[in-house]
């Protein structure tokens, strides 16, 4: 009898199941341990992909914990496509419910940031505007300004100090995380994404601008310390803005 790929896959992903029937070594004996080569290849290759994709989560929980967690994750969420660059999109939601990691409530947001960095790395290239073209907009028209953002730009909001946590645990330097909420703006000036702090009070403004709101509508959401010239300077100097239009 030929084992179908349904049975083969079920046995691959669950080591408590016996190897499928009908598999032999070269001498006609049951395949036994030989099937474990495939089991091991699948588990190890997916674990390595998660290690490569979530280096800061791995640093935060330690190698042994990460490997055990990856073993649970990969069985609950095998890749949905052969594009391993996207593998692990379910990690933040998985971490929300993963009891053994419950003592580290910031892990899901750190995972969101790591996913954003990976998405940014593979995002489409886009030519930034010349900052002078924005400077030429008459002040009276600025209220109706809508900015177009490069596809590699991603905003990650959090109620935890995710930027500090990311910096300390990714070798990017910085002191111990401060106990405050932080928003990470992921930029990709050329090919290397990096998360930056968009400045005090800027997160809700940026979120609105990225959603396509006008400058006037976005500024309604600004915090008290918000500094518009500083934010525009940050965006323009990092090639974030690829175009704009003006609403009448």
């Amino acid at each position: 009898m030929m084992p179908g790929q349904t049975e083969f896959t079920a046995a691959l992903m669950d080591a408590s199941r016996p190897a499928p029937q009908g598999l032999r070594d070269g001498r006609g004996r049951q395949a036994g341990k030989r099937f474990d080569v495939y089991r091991n290849n699948v588990a190890v290759s997916l674990t390595e992909a998660l290690e490569a994709g979530f280096p800061v989560i791995r640093k935060l929980v330690g190698d042994e914990f990460f490997r055990a967690m990856a073993g649970v994750f990969l069985r609950a969420h095998p890749p949905a496509s052969p594009l391993m660059m996207h593998y692990g999109a379910e990690m933040p939601a998985f971490l929300e419910d993963f009891g053994p990691a419950g003592g580290l409530p910031y892990l899901p947001d750190v995972a969101r940031l790591e996913l954003a960095l990976r998405r940014s790395y593979h995002a489409a290239d886009a030519a930034p505007i010349d900052p002078a073209s924005l400077a030429a907009v008459p002040p009276v028209a600025m209220a109706g300004l809508r900015l177009h953002f490069a596809p590699a730009v991603i905003l990650v909001t959090s109620s935890f100090p995710i930027l500090d946590i990311w910096r300390v645990n990714s070798g990017a330097g910085g002191g111990a995380p401060r106990p405050k909420e932080q928003t990470a703006l992921v930029l990709r000036p050329e090919f290397d994404p990096r998360p930056v702090d968009p400045g005090p009070g800027a997160a809700p403004v940026l979120a609105a601008l990225i959603e396509g709101a006008t400058l006037a509508a976005s500024l309604d959401r600004a915090g008290p310390e918000f500094d518009l010239p500083a934010l525009l300077g940050l965006l323009l100097s990092n090639g974030v803005i690829t175009g704009f239009d003006l609403e009448d």
Binding site: M2, L83, A152
Partner: protein
Amino acid sequence: MLDATTQRPALPHTPGVGYKAQHYSALISDPGCVGWLEVHAENYMGQGGRPLAQLRHLSERFPISVHGVGLSIGGEGRLDPEHLARLAHLVDWLNPASFSEHLAWSTHDSHFLNDLLPLPYNAATLARVCDHIDELQETIGRKMLLENPSSYLAFEASDMTETEFLRAVSDRTGCGLLLDVNNVFVSATNLGYSPQGYIEAYPLDRVGEIHLGGHDEDQDEHGAPLLIDSHGREVVDPVWALLDHTLALTGPRPLLIEWDTDVPDWPVLEAEAGRAHAALGAAVS
């Protein structure tokens, strides 16, 4: 060099290497005897950024072989139409010298398992594999090369040898073949047949590319040798000897060194390419 019938750059009969980003500078400054590169298709299916920019740059310097590792040609289900479209897009954009994939499956029920899994060799699987290759070749508008797998076990349901199966696939679909000499050595050791006999039974006239890589050594529960295709170390001497035996029959072919895990610094990989270069030279004389 353009292939006379396709007007595409052809893979030269020199060593090539599996491209790794850490070797980019070395390859651009002095590739030595390395005359072409292989890339894994799925790593270049993002929308932009460094991977595509590097590949574009490399393709101006080297003939490129695009090697798919995720199509699941041996799968029971139909090929993923989105993945076929991505492959077609990549091949159109890059116009590589060659496209190859594996005699294996890797996707089931829309779950990708990230390994090259085995299939039995019989009339039913032959029909399925041929249908999938026909669909792929039609989608990408060119013939592909199909690679022989590394095997750790055999199926009771097989009633053809692997070489008979590959010959039949090539006859029916017109596809070429990719001969991985390390895979032959691994499978022959694991399943107890002669690697030289396998090579002699292989349809060598269809071989458009030869692969070499390293493997790990283990044992099964009966103490029998169990070799595992790892691409994580140097090619061992018996595989180099099997390569010499192969090249004596085929003459020079594009010859790839694959090293995918524990990737070494460039000089180590370059030394492997140098050994491949010497083997190709010996095959000419």
